[in-house]
Amino acid sequence: MKQIYVGLTGNEAVATAFKQARPHVAPAFPITPQTEMMHKFADFVADGVVDTEMILVESEHSAMSAAIGAAATGARTFTATSSAGFALMWEVVYIAASLRLPICMPVVNRALSGNINIHNDHSDAMGGRDAGWIQLWCENTQEAYDHALMCWRIAEHKDVRLPVMINYDGFIISHTSESLHILPDEDAWKFVGPKDLKTGYSLLDVDHPITVGPLDLTDYYFEHKLSQIEALKRAPKYIAEVYKEFGELTGRHYSFYEEYRTDDADMIIVALGSTAGTAKDVIDAQREKGVKVGLLKIHMFRPFPAAELAKALSKAKVVGVMDKSASFGGWGGPLFNEIRSALYDLPARPKIHNWIYGLGGRDTDTKQIVSLIEQLQAIAKGREAETVNLLGVRL
């Protein structure tokens, strides 16, 4: 298949993918740095390129509520958010997952207030990690575009039926024009396909009337939570299938996580998002000097592929987990906790340390990653070090 080579910002790329997926409904409310994505999508609607019904609401809480209503009728539905907007829709984010509605939502990652900050970190999405959504993370504009096509196939699969969050870094990806390959509209549509309106239940199916979101007390609530737990357990199988099919179509092969030069690595860095790209360049330079360091970049954070990750990291002597969010008062960042817990049952565990970095958009340059690798080297040689560390902050 012939693809088109273009330069697009992350926001433009995701809007393009969503246009190609022909959603029925898109409730929208602006927040930096997501706003530009909806602007671009609204352009497509205004130009008649896609016939999505846009609902301009008065808050993010309403955006997600409208998305839930639309999705409950069977409509292919998306909205998008960042930071405080995501925090405001909190209550209903859980409801979307509880009702097993296949809504797709880019979370264009941005720091939470206060003080007010428009720049990137992962505090927003990390707060939503237990909401019952599938969470996929992207390194660059290409990955954001690709996931914005694939998310529909995952969310709407009859054995999954869960909402999907696509995470990409605010400004660093959302507002950076990068070269990428996009699919022609027709090929993208062939891949995504129309939503199967007969799958599941619809509020509009008057022959089979249903109630959505009623009171659910001690009698059945727990069983409904079980259905969510089981759906997230089933999801990886179908995510892998979609990744495989997309790889065959485009030549871009994804998996739950990407291993970069980890085969013989004594030290492995674990990261999410755009920093993984910077780390790859640093790792190449370190490898030239004979430093055995690699990277494991996670695409699928929810559901968390614990067993696979434990296996992938078991070969290392030291693992350094990078968290772009702080868990105040906690024992390290959220990614660190998951990884550390996943390694617990290994017969011989690598040492594992945490670095909190890049909060509020603090630039994470190659020097910071070099310094992290130097610390990992010292730990590998037996030097005592703090379990939880900070990277790039003025002490």
Binding site: Y5, V6, G7, T9, I118, H119, E139, N140, D169, F171, I172, I173, H175, T176, S177, E178, S179, S274, T275, G277, T278, K280, D281, D284, A285, E288, D363, T364, D365, T366
Partner: protein, 193 residues
């Protein structure tokens, strides 16, 4: 190991088109099969405040996602930024860094003002060229023309054809013609040491 990447840092004031230039150049080089990144530095958005833009160009995919601290090229759209410590025009420059300055002054004077010994300094009166060619002193497009004269990132032909294609969506033929002339004039009128 990644192929060599050319890193360009733009310094301007809000409204002069530093962001537009950084992204325009990134997208223009795609026609030559290059890989690229173009991004601004976001802060409070105020007309007249110092702003920076960044462009990376490479023959290989670009993976870095950080700011450009050690630029190969520094392009200054507004000469009043030269004396501003906050703007940081000479920050991170090496002996190989090339400066392109929109100014009426000579490269030798600019060198003195920036306090640099190494590198190379080129000057061009891009604001005047812009004013004369399309009636507004917006220097970003002529400065890309000047860059094409000294950097191996885009040819003048490719720059002009990209400009025509991309401006067609937004601007009248008169504006397009004026910008093409401005780019060509800056390409020729650049003063080198």
């Amino acid at each position: 190991m990644a192929a060599a990447t050319t890193e360009i840092r733009w310094h301007g004031r809000g409204g002069q088109g530093a962001k537009t230039a950084a992204i325009f150049l990134a997208e223009a080089v795609l026609d030559q099969g290059k890989h690229s990144q173009g991004f601004p530095e976001y802060g409070p958005e105020r007309r007249g405040a110092p702003v920076r833009g960044f462009t990376r160009i490479s023959d290989a995919p670009i993976r870095l996602h950080c700011s450009i601290a050690e630029p190969d090229y520094v392009i200054v759209l507004d000469p009043t930024l030269l004396d501003s410590k906050a703007a940081g025009v000479p920050d991170g420059a090496s002996d190989n860094t090339v400066f392109l300055i929109n100014t009426v002054e000579t490269p030798a004077n600019i060198r003195k003002r920036l306090g640099i010994k190494g590198g190379k300094v080129h000057t061009v009166d891009a604001s005047l060229i812009a004013q004369e060619c399309f009636g507004r002193p917006i220097p970003n497009m002529p400065m890309i023309g000047a860059l094409a004269a000294v950097a191996d990132v885009i040819t003048l032909e490719n720059l002009v054809s990209s400009l025509v294609v991309r401006f067609k969506k937004k601007f009248s033929q008169a504006v397009i013609d004026g910008n093409v002339t401005a780019v060509e004039r800056a390409y020729k009128e650049l003063v080198s040491e």
